[in-house]
């Protein structure tokens, strides 16, 4: 057992899979000697050599396009996009090709790639370094979008993503990269994709979130418990495809639901969850579904980013309002 932060867990998951499969290559900007700006790939070039771990020129579209070409010929490409804010010039390659290659060729060519990117706010970074646009990727048919919220889930889900035969966008909540350690066995064991994780059972209200916001969500559940409100907490983990059944099961039990995400509200992933509940769980609902989210504004520069991001208090307030709803 090892005591790892999330960034360490990611680093070790990568190393573990690199050892297990010679066809895996890791690349991106500054992932080699420098080991990534967050050190996710620290030591990997030393262990696996420049042939398998290397820096590319500064060109996100070519990085992802190249991954697709590699994957089509039997490699497993793990590309790092330095920050999610710099993934947009590669969206064309992701949407038009990575997500479509299998379908386009009726399974003849496939695209087992993992695109890793740190995402989310709260670390006092400059503009464009606090993006959380997972909903844009969740809208794209053919992708998986996976977001861990703890070191252990980062380890197990990243391994699952690498082993998955289809393209995975793996978004790493950088705010909690170093926020606490967890005991992890470096056994190469994957966690299931396409499934939620119930992190806390409860009967009064369901709180759904993912990534770094799990922290505030779990804290809110704790404080709500002190007020006698027993919240069930769900980590969505795989954003796409959505494991709606687990959420429905929970909401059918609790009758109330709050969805928490950092991303802008309009057309965020919260909307999809709410829409599905409104269709499939409407008779169970005892109160309107609330979304506690970022606003439809640009994430403010860091002096004011705390105003933008959902706080524990906002979640609690919303939960109490929901509980009081008649």
């Amino acid at each position: 057992m090892n005591d790892w932060t999330m960034i360490e867990a990611i680093n070790h998951a990568l190393a573990n899979q690199m050892r297990a499969n010679e066809n895996i290559v890791i690349f991106g900007e500054d992932v080699g000697v420098n080991g990534g700006v967050f050190r996710a790939t620290d030591g990997l070039q030393t262990e696996f050599g420049e042939r398998r771990v290397f820096d590319t020129p500064l060109a996100e579209s070519a990085i992802i396009g190249m991954s697709i070409g590699m994957a089509s010929q039997g490699l497993i490409a793990i590309a790092e996009i330095q920050f999610m804010g710099f993934i947009y010039s590669a969206i064309d390659q992701i949407l038009s090709h990575a997500a479509r290659l299998r379908n386009r060729t009726r399974g003849r060519l496939t695209c087992p790639i993992v695109i890793r990117a740190p995402f989310g706010g709260g670390i006092h970074a400059p503009e464009h370094h606090s993006e959380s646009t997972e909903a844009m990727f969740a809208h794209i048919p053919g992708l998986r979008v996976v977001i861990p919220s703890s070191p252990a889930r980062a380890y197990g889900l990243l391994i699952a993503a690498i082993q998955d035969p289809d393209p995975v966008i793996f978004l790493e909540p950088k705010r909690i990269y170093r926020d606490g350690k967890q005991a992890i066995d470096d056994n190469g064991q994957a966690l299931p994709l396409d499934s939620c994780f119930v992190l806390r059972e409860g009967v009064d209200i369901t709180l759904v979130s993912w990534g770094a916001m799990m922290k505030e969500t779990l804290e809110a559940a704790k404080q709500l418990a002190q007020k006698g409100i027993d919240a069930e907490v769900i980590d969505l983990a795989t954003i796409k495809p959505l494991d709606i059944d687990s959420i429905i099961a929970s909401v059918n039990k609790t009758g109330r639901c709050i969805i928490v995400h950092e991303a802008a509200r309009t057309c965020g992933v919260g909307a999809e969850i709410a829409a599905q509940l409104a269709e499939k769980s409407i008779t169970s609902l005892l109160a309107p579904i609330q979304r506690v989210t970022g606003y439809d504004t640009v994430m403010p520069m860091f002096k004011n980013e705390h105003f933008y991001m959902p706080s524990t208090q906002r979640i609690i307030y919303s939960a109490i309002k929901t509980m009081e709803y008649r």
């Binding site: 396009g65 070409g69 590699m70 038009s96 090709h97 386009r104 399974g107 060519l109 998986r144």
Partner: protein
């Protein structure tokens, strides 16, 4: 400061527009069978093109992009490549595709709006046609990486048009291929037009080949209407890439003597006189003259060849038309290796509701 104006890129040509040989052919090409085989491919592509346009006009396939006048490029590429090289084409490369195991009926399926046309039965590794301009160049460098990683001595061969050279993906790919020493051959079909936009509005670069310089890639211009020059230079480039492991670029100079696609009307923007001049330089006439003067090619043989090619195409059209349709729900099945739960539910809903689709 304008030193670059002094830089000339080599231009290669073997046959002039009258089919006269300008310099001796290398020994490997002094082979009548091969020379006729090349001609056959030119004709086959031309006839297929005409057939496909007719099929579009009668609604049997959808929008179609011809290669008319540009057949020498694809013919030479297909001939020069090894079977286990990988081809990453764009939509004017039928002449290459048919040499690499892609069937005419697959090509018709593709333009007929059927994904199965890209599931090549006899070609496992090549890419299918790429629509978003220039994106395929990025795939090519990934393929080249994989070939090198697997210690193969193969080359990723990728094509695009002159318009494509304005896209960021074109440049990013060239630059990355050279910086990372990847065995990729970039072949640019410079047919002087990107739909209605002429080359001089596309770039102020002296030539397209000059664009390789900023990536540090050696480049050459070739007469793209001269199948012999194309074949010789592609072969040479492939050999050089296999040796060096480094990329190369060929600008093939040709002319689009047809509409951009069947959805286009080139007469809106293409000068008729210029077009007439261009037609005189097209590759079939030239190669036929060469065969006539040097290899006793007769009108009779020519007729027989045309007839034979057309028959081959007609048979393919028949097979295409008799192909059973895809099952209605097939479009769900290839999104992922396994249908995820949400998509399975959608598929079931679709199947149940099939009656609601008019």
């Amino acid at each position: 400061m304008n030193t670059q104006q002094n830089l000339n890129i080599e231009f290669s040509q073997y046959l002039d527009i009258n089919g006269t040989l300008l310099k001796p052919l290398p020994a490997t090409l002094d082979n009548e069978e091969l020379l006729i085989a090349l001609y056959r491919l030119l004709v086959l592509t031309r006839l297929f093109d005409e057939t496909a346009v007719n099929l579009q006009r009668t609604g049997i396939i959808g929008t179609y992009a011809q290669s008319k006048g540009q057949e020498a490029i694809g013919t030479a590429i297909g001939r020069a490549m090894l079977a286990d090289d990988v081809f990453i084409p764009y939509y004017r490369d039928i002449a290459t595709q048919i040499q690499r195991g892609v069937s005419f009926e697959e090509i018709l399926q593709y333009w007929g709006g059927d994904e199965r046309g890209s599931n090549f039965a006899d070609q496992p590794n090549d890419f299918s046609l790429c629509v978003p301009i220039a994106t395929q160049l990025c795939h090519a460098i990934g393929v080249a990486f994989a070939l090198k990683f697997q210690s193969k001595r193969n080359v990723a061969v990728v094509t695009c048009g002159d318009g494509a050279t304005s896209k960021g993906d074109f440049y990013e790919s060239l630059n990355m291929a050279a910086a990372m020493h990847l065995p990729a051959l970039f072949i640019i079909n410079n047919n002087q037009w990107a739909i209605s936009v002429p080359l001089h509005q596309q770039t102020a670069s002296k030539t397209i080949a000059h664009k390789a310089i900023g990536a540090g890639i050696p480049a050459i211009q070739v007469d793209g209407n001269d199948v012999l020059a194309m074949l010789i230079n592609i072969s040479k480039a492939l050999e050089q890439i296999r040796q060096s492991g480094k990329p190369f670029l060929i600008e093939a100079i040709t002319y689009r003597i047809c509409d951009h696609t069947t959805a286009d009307d080139a007469s809106r923007y293409m000068d008729a006189d210029v077009l007439q001049e261009a037609i005189k330089k097209e590759p079939l006439i030239r190669h036929k003259r060469f065969l006539s003067t040097q290899h006793f090619w007769t009108e009779e043989k020519d007729k027989a060849l045309y007839h034979d090619c057309q028959q081959q195409i007609d048979e393919a059209v028949d097979r295409y038309q008799n192909f059973p349709p895809q099952a209605a729900g097939d479009f769900f099945d290839y999104m992922y290796e396994q249908l995820p739960a949400d998509l399975l539910e959608q598929k079931q809903g679709f199947i149940q509701g099939l009656k609601h689709h008019e």
